[in-house]
C-alpha cells in the first residue's frame, strides 16, 4: 500500500471536515448557544491532525485500487471519530461510544439516534447532526475531490470505493469535474427544497434541517416526533417528492439538464424503483384503510410518506408505524433491503442490484428448461458482463452474511424479535428507525455499548457497500508489498 498517498488523502479529508464544522460553528454563534466552545475546540483538534497530514509529499502520485479502498474505509471511520467530538465536548452525549454512534449515524445518513430529548439540544449541535447527512449523502470523498486539489491519477479508485452501486459512471472524463457537477445538482435541490419548505410554513431553521435530512436521504429531525410534529400536509408532500428524487440516480438529472427530458423513464432501474414504490403504496394503503385510519386520504398520506422514506433509506416519520398491521410492516421491512438507486444518496442493496438479481434468477430457471441455451442478462439494452453479475451475487451474499452476523451479536442484548432484526436492517441499510423499541418514535439508547459499536460499524459497512471495511480486516491488505 502507498501509505504516503493514503495519509495525505486522509489529511485532506479531515481538513474538509473541519471546514464543514465551521458552518456549524457559525450557526452556534448565530444562536449564541452553549456549543460555541465545543465546535471551536473540535475544529482546532481536527485541523491540527488534518493540516500536517495533508502536507505530506506523496512520493509517486499513483493510486491503485487498494489505496483507494484504504482511504475510503479509514476516512469514514476517522470522519465519524472526529465528527463525534462536538457531541462529546459539549456534553450533549457524555459517552464516547454513543457519540461515535451518533456521528456515524450522521455521516452514513442513517439517522439512528441515541438522543431522547431532541428539542432541548443546542441549535448548533442539531445543525451539525443534519449537516453530516448532507455531506455524507453525496459522499464526503466526492466533496473532498470537488473542493481540494487533485491527488494525481487514480483518484477514480476513491470514487469507486465510495460510490453507491455496482459500477460508477463518470459524467465527464475528469473525476474532479464529475464531483463538481454532482455537487452542483445536489446544491440546487437543497436550495429549492429549503425555499419550498419555508413557503409551506416551516421556520427557516427547521426547513434547513429537514432539507439536509431529505436530500442526503438521512432523516434526522429536530423534533422528537419527526415530520409528524408539524402535521403539515404540504411539507410532507414536498419532503416525499424530494426524498424520491434523491433516491434516484443523479446521472439521470445530468442527462435531463443536457436536454434528454425523458431520461428517467428510459432507465430500467428508475422504472423498477418507481414500480416498487407505487406497488407498495397501493398495498399498504389498502391494508391501512379501515384498520388504522378511517379515511382513504389519511391512509394514502401516511403510506406514501412512509414507503418513500423507507425505500430511499431516509427514515423520517409522520406517524408511529409500529401500530400498523403486520402486512404493512413486513412490506416496509422488505423495502429496507431494496433501497434507492445506484448513484443516489440512498443506501441498502440498491434497486439496480435487486433488478439484476431477479433477472439472473429468471435466467437460472430458463437454463434448467433448456440446459444448452445461452442467455445473456441485459440492462439498458446492453449485455451485463459475467464479472459484474458475479460481483452482484457476491455482494448479496456478503450483505446477508453481515446482516446475520450482526443480528447474532445484537441478540446478546436480549431484545424482542422485531427490535433485534430491524435494528440491524435499519442501520446496515442506512434507514434509521426500525420497528419495536427502535421504531420511529423510539431510539437506540437502550442497546449495550457492544451493541452500539456493532451497529455503528453496520452503518459504515452499509454506506460503503461492505468491501472497504472488510478489507481492513485482512492482514495482507496492510503490507507494503502485497503477496
Amino acid at each position: 500500500m502507498n501509505f504516503r498517498v493514503v495519509l495525505k488523502a486522509l489529511g485532506m479529508l479531515l481538513v474538509c471536515e473541519s471546514l464543514l464544522m465551521m458552518l456549524s460553528l457559525a450557526v452556534a454563534v448565530y444562536y449564541q448557544g452553549p456549543d460555541i466552545i465545543s465546535f471551536s475546540l473540535s475544529i482546532l483538534i481536527t485541523g491540527v491532525v488534518g493540516v500536517p497530514l495533508s502536507y505530506i509529499k506523496a512520493g509517486k502520485k499513483i493510486m491503485y485500487a487498494r489505496d483507494g479502498f484504504a482511504i475510503v474505509a479509514l476516512g469514514w471511520i476517522l470522519l465519524s471519530f472526529f465528527g463525534s467530538l462536538p457531541y462529546v465536548i459539549s456534553g450533549v452525549i457524555p459517552s464516547f461510544v454513543e457519540s461515535f454512534f451518533e456521528a456515524a449515524s450522521g455521516f452514513t445518513t442513517t439517522s439512528a439516534s441515541v438522543l431522547t430529548h431532541i428539542e432541548d439540544l443546542p441549535k448548533g449541535i442539531l445543525f451539525w447532526r443534519s449537516f453530516t447527512h448532507w455531506a455524507g449523502g453525496m459522499g464526503v470523498i466526492v466533496l473532498t475531490l470537488a473542493m481540494l486539489p487533485s491527488l494525481g491519477s487514480g483518484t477514480v479508485q476513491m470514487l469507486k470505493a465510495e460510490y453507491p452501486g455496482p459500477n460508477p459512471e463518470k459524467l465527464v472524463p475528469q473525476v474532479k469535474e464529475t464531483a463538481k457537477i454532482l455537487y452542483r445538482i445536489y446544491l440546487a435541490f437543497t436550495v429549492l427544497e429549503v425555499i419550498m419548505l419555508k413557503f409551506a410554513g416551516l421556520p427557516l431553521y427547521d426547513a434547513i434541517i429537514h432539507t439536509f435530512g431529505t436530500v442526503g436521504t438521512g432523516g434526522a429531525s429536530n423534533m422528537n416526533a419527526s415530520v409528524g410534529a408539524y402535521n403539515n400536509i404540504n411539507a410532507e408532500v414536498i419532503i416525499t417528492i424530494f426524498t424520491f428524487m434523491c433516491g434516484a440516480n443523479f446521472t439521470l438529472y445530468y442527462q435531463m439538464l443536457k436536454g434528454d427530458l425523458k431520461a428517467p423513464f428510459k432507465d430500467e432501474e428508475f422504472r423498477f424503483y418507481l414500480g416498487v414504490i407505487i406497488a407498495s403504496i397501493v398495498l399498504i394503503t389498502i391494508n391501512l384503510y379501515g384498520d388504522v385510519f378511517n379515511s382513504l386520504r389519511e391512509s394514502l398520506r401516511h403510506s406514501s410518506f412512509q414507503v418513500v422514506t423507507v425505500m430511499t433509506t431516509t427514515g423520517f416519520a409522520t406517524t408511529d408505524y409500529n401500530n400498523w398491521g403486520m402486512f404493512s410492516k413486513i412490506i416496509l421491512f422488505i423495502l429496507m433491503f431494496i433501497g434507492g438507486c445506484a448513484g443516489s444518496t440512498g443506501g441498502a442493496l440498491k434497486s439496480i442490484r435487486v433488478l439484476l438479481l431477479l433477472r439472473v434468477a429468471k435466467r437460472e430457471l430458463l437454463q434448467i428448461m433448456h440446459p444448452k441455451a445461452v442467455y445473456t442478462v441485459k440492462l439498458r439494452n446492453k449485455t451485463v458482463d459475467e464479472k459484474t453479475i458475479s460481483e452482484i451475487l457476491g455482494f448479496f451474499f456478503m450483505y446477508m452474511l453481515i446482516f446475520i452476523t450482526a443480528v447474532l451479536v445484537i441478540s446478546l442484548d436480549n431484545m424482542d424479535w422485531a427490535t433485534t432484526t430491524t435494528a440491524v436492517a435499519a442501520t446496515l441499510g442506512n434507514i434509521g428507525p426500525g420497528f419495536g423499541i427502535v421504531g420511529p418514535m423510539g431510539n437506540y439508547s437502550t442497546f449495550s455499548d457492544l451493541g452500539k459499536i456493532v451497529l455503528s460499524l453496520c452503518m459504515i459497512i452499509g454506506r460503503l457497500e461492505i468491501y472497504p471495511i472488510l478489507l481492513l480486516g485482512i492482514p495482507s491488505f496492510w503490507k507494503k508489498t502485497n503477496l
Binding site: A65, S153, G154, V156, Q157, K170, V172, P173, Q174, V175, K382, D385, K387
Partner: protein
C-alpha cells in the same frame, strides 16, 4: 477540446493518456472490456463499451458536439467507416489510422471521399524515420524540422569523443556556433543546458542545426557519419515494404529475411529490387551465411519485440555496424535503451506524436517529444500579430527551461542570440521542458 478515441489499444491508450493530461475531454470507445477497464482505472477519461461504427454508441458519446474523432482500431476498414459515420453525425474533424499498402496509393482519394482530415500510416512514418536515421548514421535518432532544412540529431557521448568534459560555452571557440545543443539526457533525466553545462560520458545530446553543419560537427568530434550501402531487414511486414522502397531509391542495397514462405513470395512481387531470403532471422548461422558482418545496418522489425531485441543483439555481436530495432510496447523502451542497440523505432509512438501535433493546432508544424513528453521540441510558424514579434530575444522573459532554438526565415537558418528578433512568417523551433506549447504567445506569456 472534446475528443473521441475509438480503439483502446496501445496507440489509443497512449493518445488518451497524453491528451487527457493536457486537459482535453477524452472519451474512449472500445469493444474490449479488459482494455477499457485499464484505461478507466488509470486515466481521466470516459469509457464507453461498444463498437465505434454504431451510430447509437457514437451518439451516446455525444459525437455531434465533438471536435475531433480519432479512429485507431486494428482494422483500416473499421477506422474508415467510423470516421465516415462520425462526419455525417456532425463531428468537426476526423483522424484515421490506415496502414495497408493496398490503400496507401489511394490515400488522397480516400481522404477526400471519406472527409478525413488526417490519415496516419504508422508503418510509412516509421519507414521514413528509419531512412532518416540511416542517412545520418552516427546519430541515434534524426528528426526533420522546417521541411528538412533544419535537423535535430541525437548522439550518445562515448569515451573516445573529444567533446567529453567540455563546457558548453567553451565549445564556441573550437567550433563555429551554427549548431545548438538543445537538450541533454543524463540518467533518464531531461536537462535544458546552459553555458556552464559540462558534457560527460553517456549523456545523450540533442543537437539542432543545418544538416551540413551537423555533419561537420560530427566530423570534428569523432563520429564521422558512415555512408550506408548494405542494409539487412529482418521481418517482412508493412514497414519492411515501405522501407525497402525508400532505401533502394536512395541507392542502398536491401536484403529482407522473412520466415514465412508465402509472405516471401508476396514480398518478391512487391519489392523486386530487394533480395528476399526465406529463413529464421534469429538463427545466427543464417545471419552469418548472409554476411551479417558486412552489413552497414541491420534493422529488426518482426511482430515480436523480444525477437527484435535478440536479433539486434546477435547482429551487433556479429559485426553489423548500425543496429536498429522496432519496439511496440512503449514500457520496454527505458529498459532496452541501455542494451547497446543503436536506435529504437516505435511506430506507435510516431503515430501518437503525429496525432498530438495535429491536436496542438494549425500553427504547430512539427512536434518531437523526448522521454514521454518530459521535453518537447516544437516548430511553430510565427503568425502576424503575435506579441512576440519584432522584439529582441533578450528582452523576452522566457519561462524557465524554455529556449528558442532556431529561427528559419526563407532560406536562412539562424541559431538566435539575444539581439535577434522573430518576424512574421518565420518558422521558430522552441525547446520546452514540462510545458506544452501550441503558439508563440504562450512562450511570451510565461514572462
Amino acid at each position: 477540446m472534446k475528443i473521441i478515441i475509438i480503439g483502446a489499444g496501445k496507440v489509443g491508450y497512449n493518445l488518451a493518456e497524453n491528451l487527457s493530461k493536457s486537459n482535453h475531454n477524452v472519451i474512449i470507445i472500445d469493444r474490449n472490456y479488459a482494455a477499457l477497464s485499464k484505461a478507466e482505472e488509470n486515466l481521466e477519461v470516459l469509457c464507453i463499451k461498444g463498437s465505434g461504427v454504431s451510430t447509437g454508441i457514437l451518439m451516446e458519446a455525444g459525437v455531434d458536439t465533438t471536435d475531433l474523432l480519432i479512429a485507431v482500431t486494428g482494422s483500416d476498414e473499421v477506422n474508415m467507416v467510423c470516421c465516415l459515420t462520425a462526419k455525417k453525425l456532425g463531428v468537426k474533424s476526423t483522424v484515421a489510422r490506415i496502414r495497408d499498402y493496398e490503400y496507401a496509393h489511394e490515400l488522397l482519394l480516400l481522404k477526400e471521399e471519406l472527409g478525413l482530415d488526417l490519415v496516419i500510416n504508422p508503418e510509412q512514418a516509421a519507414a521514413d524515420e528509419i531512412a532518416n536515421v540511416l542517412n545520418f548514421s552516427s546519430a541515434i535518432n534524426v528528426e526533420n524540422f522546417a521541411k528538412g532544412r533544419v535537423k535535430m540529431i541525437e548522439i550518445r557521448v562515448t569515451e573516445d569523443m573529444p567533446i567529453m568534459g567540455m563546457c558548453l560555452k567553451d565549445m564556441g571557440s573550437k567550433f563555429d556556433s551554427s549548431i545548438l545543443i538543445g537538450v541533454v539526457i543524463r540518467n533518464e533525466e531531461v536537462i535544458v543546458p546552459n553555458g556552464n553545462f559540462i558534457i560527460s560520458e553517456n549523456d545523450k545530446l540533442y543537437i539542432i542545426g543545418q544538416p551540413s553543419h551537423l555533419y561537420n560537427f560530427c566530423k570534428v568530434f569523432g563520429k564521422v557519419p558512415l555512408k550506408i550501402k548494405n542494409v539487412m531487414i529482418l521481418g517482412g511486414g508493412r514497414i519492411a515494404v515501405y522501407l525497402s522502397k525508400l532505401l533502394t531509391e536512395m541507392g542502398m542495397k536491401v536484403k529482407v529475411i522473412e520466415i514465412d514462405r508465402e509472405k516471401c513470395i508476396q514480398l518478391s512481387e512487391l519489392i523486386p529490387e530487394a533480395l528476399i531470403i526465406n529463413g529464421d532471422g534469429t538463427d545466427e548461422e543464417l545471419l552469418r551465411s548472409e554476411n551479417i558482418d558486412e552489413m552497414d545496418a541491420f534493422i529488426s522489425m518482426t511482430g515480436m519485440d523480444e525477437e527484435n531485441m535478440m536479433a539486434a543483439l546477435i547482429a551487433k555481436q556479429n559485426g553489423a555496424k548500425k543496429v536498429i530495432a522496432k519496439v511496440s510496447r512503449l514500457n520496454y523502451m527505458s529498459i532496452i535503451k541501455n542494451l547497446g542497440i543503436d536506435s529504437l523505432i516505435s511506430p506507435k509512438q510516431i503515430t501518437s506524436n503525429q496525432i498530438l501535433k495535429y491536436v496542438r493546432g494549425n500553427n504547430v508544424e512539427s512536434l518531437y517529444r523526448i522521454i514521454e513528453g518530459q521535453a518537447e521540441i516544437t516548430e511553430i510558424i510565427a503568425e502576424p500579430g503575435s506579441k512576440i514579434l519584432n522584439t529582441k530575444l533578450k528582452k523576452l522573459e522566457l519561462p524557465k527551461d524554455t529556449i528558442i532554438a532556431t529561427i528559419v526565415r526563407k532560406n536562412e537558418v539562424v541559431i538566435p542570440h539575444g539581439n535577434d528578433i522573430i518576424k512574421a512568417g518565420d518558422r521558430v523551433i522552441v525547446i520546452s521542458k514540462n510545458k506544452n506549447i501550441s503558439s508563440l504567445d504562450e512562450v511570451a506569456a510565461g514572462s
